[in-house]
């Protein structure tokens, strides 16, 4: 097993993690021993063990996640939203707004092809979305980028440091969905797309924030010079 300087280990499925049953994510217990379930990075937080998959290209909906989706269809009293997951999202009319008297007015803005930034509020037989949260909105214009959902925490950074740095330096508006879809709008859209692709490629190499900052500074200098 290779141990890196930053202090993380890469494990493969079936790697023995503990000789006692433990709790956590991405693990399974067999004959009172704990094994890994994914090919990923091992993180220990006290008694908890977490395996973060390296290359997870699919999104499993979780309650409370903000996702970006495109409205595909409108049937009966709900919209079917493509959230790039095995399960489609359902947005019911009564989840469009807090105020019931606005409903008819608000419905006019939701058409097939509309891009929405919404929140998952129930995961059961159907994945239900809501627009009642104050952060949710309809996204107009701009550009959509798709990356692996397992890389989203690196794009956001610790306490949103990475995303706020990119926004400040490029003067762009960015919305990040946990389902791996990122919406970008502003002057330097191409630069943001390049930076995000760079983050996805080099997410496991240490010192990412500094490298991205340097990359953006160099590119902006070139642009202003030309």
């Amino acid at each position: 097993m290779v141990e890196q300087k930053e202090g993380y280990k890469i494990v493969t499925p079936g790697t023995l993690l503990a000789t006692t049953p433990k709790k956590g994510k991405g693990i399974w217990v067999y004959e009172r021993k704990t094994y890994s379930k994914y090919y990923g990075i091992l993180k220990r937080r006290g008694e908890l063990i977490e395996i973060q998959p390296i290359n997870m290209k699919y999104y499993m909906p979780k309650r409370g996640d903000y996702v970006i989706g495109i409205i595909k269809d409108n049937i009966l009293n709900f919209y079917i939203v493509d959230i790039s997951s095995p399960y489609p999202g359902y947005l019911y009319y009564f989840d469009l707004t807090k105020n019931a008297y606005e409903l008819e007015y608000v419905q006019r803005f939701y058409k097939i092809g509309t891009v929405i930034y919404s929140q998952v509020y129930q995961v059961g037989e159907r994945v239900k979305l809501t627009m009642k949260d104050s952060n949710t909105k309809i996204l107009r214009g701009g550009r959509l980028i798709k990356i692996a959902p397992s890389k989203i925490p690196r794009v956001i950074g610790r306490n949103a440091s990475m995303i706020s740095m990119i926004q400040k330096m490029t003067n762009c508006k960015i919305a990040v969905g946990y389902n791996g879809i990122i919406w970008v709008s502003g002057e330097n859209m191409d630069l943001v797309v390049e930076a995000i692709n760079k983050i996805e490629r080099e997410s496991l190499i240490p010192g990412l924030t500094d490298r991205i900052k340097e990359f953006l500074e160099n590119r902006l200098k070139e642009k202003s010079g030309a």
């Binding site: 097993m1 290779v2 890196q4 300087k5 890469i10 493969t12 499925p13 079936g14 991405g26 399974w28 067999y30 004959e31 094994y35 379930k37 994914y38 090919y39 990923g40 998959p53 390296i54 290359n55 997870m56 290209k57 699919y58 499993m60 095995p86 399960y87 489609p88 397992s150 490629r201 080099e202 997410s203 496991l204 190499i205 240490p206 010192g207």
Partner: protein, 238 residues
């Protein structure tokens, strides 16, 4: 070819010992558009597996309790010396046995009402294609982050001139007395696939199984090394 020629002075026609495996190579991330992919090579036998999914399942493929797994094994027409049909009874059978083996290794119940499709292509064949296919599949599932118990590893064991030999290749497959494919899961010490043709006595069978398990563990090491050291996502070592 006469039977005597297959083993001479404890060595086989290609110069290997009886318990020696052909050169092995493992890779991941070979198909960019797939959710995960893997390549496995036993000498001249090369298998590429690519995993697509979990994705939304249509009604006929929908199961309320677990994901629907479809493995599709294809031996490409140019993979052998004589051109072969893309679809045959043999490929249907191998697709089915690989699906049955992996249904017990993957945690499919974590993804109900979805479908996972695996495409396995043999681009060059020289015996042990189903073993190479299973190994490539294991790598592809690990790369696609599908939850699984362990890496399923597989190898073939056979009988040549009355002696048990590991990793049957080329002429040994056609002129040998027995050919047996084994898929083994190290974590719970279980065999998930066992297919044999030809005759073996009880003692020979026991010897073949123990030799096969040892061979599977060598394959397991190669796959594990590929996943930990040789993947492009980790990038250069700092």
């Amino acid at each position: 070819m006469k039977e005597e020629e297959l083993v001479r002075d404890g060595k086989r026609t290609d110069g290997r010992r009886l318990d020696e495996i052909r050169e092995m190579e493992a890779k991941i991330g070979v198909v960019k558009n797939a959710y995960g992919s893997g390549l496995f090579r036993f000498g001249n036998t090369i298998a590429i597996a690519s995993v697509y999914g979990p994705s939304e399942a249509y009604k006929p493929f929908e199961r309320p309790d677990k994901a629907f797994l479809i493995c599709d094994y294809k031996m490409l027409p140019f993979s052998t010396q004589e051109r072969t049909k893309l679809r045959s009874r043999r490929s249907e059978e191998i697709s089915m046995v690989i699906t049955r083996a992996f249904e017990n290794v993957l945690f499919l119940e974590e993804m109900p009402r979805t479908k996972i499709r695996v495409s396995i292509q043999i681009i060059n064949a020289e015996a042990s294609t189903r073993c190479a296919a299973i190994n490539a599949c294991s790598l592809a599932f690990a790369d696609a982050s599908i939850p699984m118990k362990d890496l399923l590893c597989s190898i073939s064991v056979g009988k040549i001139n009355g002696k048990i030999a590991l990793d049957i290749a080329g002429k040994e497959d056609s002129f040998g007395e027995c050919d047996m494919a084994i898929a083994y899961l190290p974590v719970n010490d279980s065999i998930y696939l066992l297919q044999a043709d030809g005759d073996l006595s009880r003692e020979e069978f026991k010897e073949a199984i123990s030799l096969g398990i040892n061979g599977c563990l060598k394959v397991y090491e190669v796959m594990k090394k590929c996943l930990i050291e040789g993947n492009e996502y980790v990038g250069p070592r700092v």
